[in-house]
């Protein structure tokens, strides 16, 4: 378990964080300017914090109190940068093998062929980075980081520079990384969607401080934690594929409640993560009838939050887990929503991602 404590003052901005990154993907989640990249760069040794300790067991990267600081090249990292940063003068194969050269001879190595297959970059090996598309570059960057035999993988908004299609192309590779590679991953993101799909653990950041940290479902289901803004808020629940129906819908079961969504290619029985964006959830005091929406979850109000604006965030406990709904404050008052009140959540749309092995946390 990686433990990070950092304090650093920039002109006009102070970072003061303490968090833990258990195995799996730990997402540093927050708006730009919240200190995410600063943290990752301090972990990589590219920035010298004023004070701090970064360690996993007896593997100490930084301990300012004891005057210890490993230089970047001895930290055994795989850093996946936002812009790829492939070496333009080397071929893809040479880029992939760059880190292997410098890794200790006895380090546990990923098999080159396996990584190349995993990332689907076999046909690119003899090309130079200048001839690759954005998505291809980022896949090579992932491979290069993996093959350096890292003890920790860092990823700084690796999808931010890509368009939506390329994002959709790369995200599954990170999911496979999370599920197939035992190395812990520290992943920086400001996208609630990426967090929902990837995170095992979420560290929500705001203005250089940790707002909340913990298992993904817990942190994302907390109405007070919307580091990317209420618009982006959404809960993540665990579900299982039940069946594919002839009318093109896939049926899921989330804690016994059926959910329907456009057909996926996942096998019946496989676990999935379902992200339900807060703005896609309507609330009703009685079970609505004659409604086009297919997915209705019964539940009780856990908490109602508002910050003075016209909107309110409502957290519900349902058999499927914690769900968030973003409605107006006026509606919340009109419906008399307060903790303990029974409501029905009408879900307009859901998105799914294959479940990570460890469960939703």
């Amino acid at each position: 378990m990686l433990q990070v404590t950092l304090r650093h003052a920039f002109p006009g901005f102070a970072l003061d964080v303490r968090f833990e990154a258990p195995p799996g993907v730990t997402v540093l989640f927050g708006r730009s300017g919240s200190g995410k990249t600063t943290i990752v760069n301090a972990v990589a040794g590219l920035l010298r914090p004023d004070e701090g300790r970064i360690a996993a067991g007896d593997w100490i990267l930084l301990d300012t109190a004891r005057g210890r600081r490993l230089p970047t090249h001895r930290r055994r990292l795989g850093y996946i940068f936002q812009e790829g940063r492939l070496f333009p003068h080397l071929t893809v194969r040479q880029n992939l093998l760059f880190g292997r050269w410098f890794a200790p001879k006895d380090a546990p190595r990923e098999d080159m062929g396996h990584v190349v297959d995993l990332l689907g970059i076999g046909h690119l090996l003899d090309r130079r980075p200048g001839a690759l598309s954005g998505g291809e570059k980022q896949r090579v960057a992932i491979g290069r980081a993996l093959l350096s035999a890292p003890r920790l993988i860092l990823a700084d908004e690796p999808l931010a520079a890509l368009d939506e299609d390329r994002k959709a192309e790369i995200l599954p590779y990170f999911e496979r990384l999370r599920d197939e590679v035992s190395v812990p991953i520290l992943y920086v993101s400001h996208s609630a969607y990426e967090v929902a799909r990837l995170a095992t653990t979420v560290v929500a950041l705001k203005d250089g401080r940790v707002l909340r940290q913990g298992p993904a479902a817990q942190v994302l289901g907390d109405p007070s934690v919307t580091p990317a803004g209420a618009r982006e808020a959404g809960a993540v629940i665990a579900a299982r594929v039940v069946a594919h129906h002839a009318d093109g819908l896939t049926e899921l079961s989330a804690g016994g409640v059926p959910l329907f969504l456009p057909r996926t290619d996942l096998a019946p029985g496989s676990p999935v993560r379902v992200r339900i964006a807060a703005h896609d959830v309507l609330l009703a005091r009685t079970r609505p009838e004659g409604l086009s929406a297919l997915n209705i979850l019964p539940g009780t109000v856990h908490e109602v939050r508002s910050r003075g604006g016209p909107g309110a965030m409502v957290a519900l406990d349902t058999p499927a887990g914690r769900v968030l709904s973003r409605i107006t404050r006026r509606s919340a008052q009109a419906l008399g929503l307060e903790p303990g009140v029974a409501v029905h959540a009408v879900v307009k749309s859901v998105s799914v991602a294959p479940q990570d092995v460890g469960g939703p946390g």
Binding site: A44, G45, L46, P71, T72, H73, R74, R75, R76, L77, G78, Y79, F81, E83, R85, F87, P88, H89, F98, G99, W101, F102, A103, R128, P129, G130, A131, R144, A145, S148, L154
Partner: protein
């Protein structure tokens, strides 16, 4: 070509090539190091070093030559101890190479420094995260990427060294076979009646060498850039 040039002229051309070759070769590692230090490091005295490197570009060459004579002469503070070790610069071709190297140094450093500044430090950081020590990062990332600049700097320095006159003649005089390079020889031929023919032939050689150097730097630069730039 041997028939076309007289023995004295041929001697001057061969000497110039030798002087320029060694001046370039020896100053190249120092030039790369200096350029890297100026481009990437902040240290006390950085501006002083920068000024010192560029001084030969600004000073009258005669002044540079005289300063070299004072410093590297057999009784100078550096030349004296070196002379005891058997390394003599004054009035030898090695001195001509030293003068040419010093005069060409600012041009070389400028070209290399520009190419280093064009390398994104983020790539060097990426190298470090992959386990490469600063020296390995330099050898495997920075150096290959600045190769076009190094080649350009070296060719520029070579051409400059071929043509160096003022500092050379002041420092090591104009001794046939020892320090009479092409420019010194042209100057000497023009001082004697009937020397114009020999001077003109050497002028043609100078022009040819300069053109060849320029063409070569273009060709090599383009080839290296293609290899480095990807595609």
């Amino acid at each position: 070509m041997g028939d076309w040039l007289g023995p004295e002229e041929w001697q001057a051309v061969a000497l110039s090539l030798r002087v320029a070759f060694w001046a370039t070769l020896v100053s190249l590692p120092l030039g790369v190091f200096t350029a890297y230090a100026l481009a990437r490091w902040t240290f006390p005295g950085r501006q002083l070093l920068n000024g010192l490197v560029h001084l030969p570009l600004i000073l009258p060459p005669v002044v540079t030559g005289y300063l070299l004579l004072l410093t590297f002469g057999t009784r100078g503070p550096v030349g004296g101890p070196l002379a005891d070790l058997g390394i003599v610069f004054a009035f030898r071709w090695t001195g001509a190479a030293l003068a040419a190297g010093v005069m060409a140094f600012p041009l070389m450093v400028r070209a290399i420094r520009l190419s280093i500044e064009a390398v994104d430090p983020k790539l060097e950081q990426a190298g470090a995260t992959l386990g490469a020590s600063p020296l390995w990062v330099f050898l495997t990332v920075t150096l290959p990427m600045i190769l076009p600049g190094i080649v350009a700097g070296a060719i520029l320095a070579f051409a400059k060294a071929m043509g160096e006159f003022g500092a050379t003649i002041t420092f090591v005089s104009n001794i046939p076979g020892q320090t009479r390079t092409v420019p010194s020889a042209i100057y000497a031929f023009l001082q004697v009646p009937g020397g114009e023919g020999a001077a003109m032939r050497l002028v043609l050689v100078s022009v040819a060498v300069a053109m060849a150097a320029l063409l070569l730097s273009e060709v090599i630069g383009r080839r290296v850039a293609r290899r480095v730039g990807g595609g």
